[in-house]
Symmetry: C2
């Protein structure tokens, strides 16, 4: 068969990478620098991503300037206060105790933008959101590649995208998809932190997968 053939061991290794990827926050990053060569490998991973109609609708801003990081951190703080207001009582107390970003602790921040094409895009005519989804696939590629390089990534979404655009001087047409904190880590946690803290419970696989129609389950009830 033309094209690379992967062994069962290769598939197992990929599964281990998928399984051990974590969202990393400021309490886990070390001060160790991320080199331009390492960043280049992460960018390459993104560019291997699928894009609807081969539109490649992505742009990347690599941030090391502490003044820019501070300005982004300030946006986070504003948005996070508004966010806390949406939770009630005990949940609000829990929310306020969480460390949800590593903007200043991570040596590098990486902002990923959607750059819409002019004119129709093949594959994007019925689902306008497909261009954004292409950029998200590129972000997941970065996240996985980083993990395989033992580099931590944290996705900060408690931000006003418009204000990030202004600070990084992006054209108005661009749309922030992901703001990533990138750095070496003291550890990769065994489980997602929000699972360990019981913020939400893990869902049962049997409740999520159906066959042919929504009324028929793929897995036995008790699996």
């Amino acid at each position: 068969m033309p094209g690379t053939f992967f062994s069962a061991e290769d598939a197992d290794l990929l599964e281990t990478v998928l399984k051990s990827r974590r969202d990393v926050r400021g309490n886990r990053f070390t001060q160790e620098e991320i080199t331009d060569l390492e960043l280049d490998k992460l960018i390459d991973a993104a560019l291997y991503g699928p894009s609807v109609g081969f539109s490649q609708p992505w742009e990347f801003v690599i941030i090391r300037d502490p003044n820019i990081k501070s300005a982004i951190q300030e946006i986070f703080s504003q948005e996070n206060l508004k966010a806390a207001d949406q939770f009630q009582d005990q949940k609000q107390q829990e929310y306020l105790r969480l460390k949800l970003e590593g903007i200043s602790e991570a040596p590098v921040n990486l902002a990923v933008f959607y750059n819409p094409m002019n004119g129709p895009v093949l594959g994007q005519t019925s689902m306008k959101e497909m261009g954004l989804y292409s950029v998200v696939c590129a972000v997941q590629n970065i996240w996985l590649m980083a993990r395989a390089m033992n580099i931590g990534v944290g996705w900060v979404s408690i931000l006003d995208p418009q204000k990030v655009n202004e600070i990084l001087e992006l054209p108005e047409s661009r749309r922030l998809v992901a703001y990533l904190c990138v750095g070496k880590v003291t550890e990769f946690a065994e489980l997602p932190e929000l699972e360990t803290l019981r913020w939400e419970k893990r869902k049962h696989k049997a409740s999520l997968v159906f066959k042919d129609r929504y009324d028929s389950r793929f897995y036995p009830e008790n699996s």
Copy 2:
């Protein structure tokens, strides 16, 4: 360091998986069955995906029923005619010659939905689209895991999501994120088909990556 430590060879293998993933259409699928065990591995890959606030906002429908596939194919045909109308002259002729799905050829179709949570979601308060993005990350995990298992995946986006919901009898609150065709293949192409056919040109890396601000490039101009 707690957590799996990956070697440089492991990172190289992941890079090869990322690089050799392709969007597979009906002209490449074989009739060979995809087993439930293989599908289970793809679902597990999805469930290792990141989700905003650990919300796990995903649901999956595995389709083998030829009648359902036919109904989906009919939706594709309707949407594809509308799509062709958006392209002009030579580009429209090229568009009409492309094979853009493998709904009936692939032994399995896999529809992936977003199931919004009730109430506020941690990390989704400023960017409402984060729940959808979590589902997209799960889709990319499926795509990569399939590639490492030498299974092809094609993402069909030329569909009316509302009509797919109706055929698969999903609750109204659910939103189609991806409709995937899944099967063994005769080959994985060296390059994306739309690149080979020069539908769009590959963008230069140097034009896509900036440092600190949008007016400053990360790579030298001529890289």
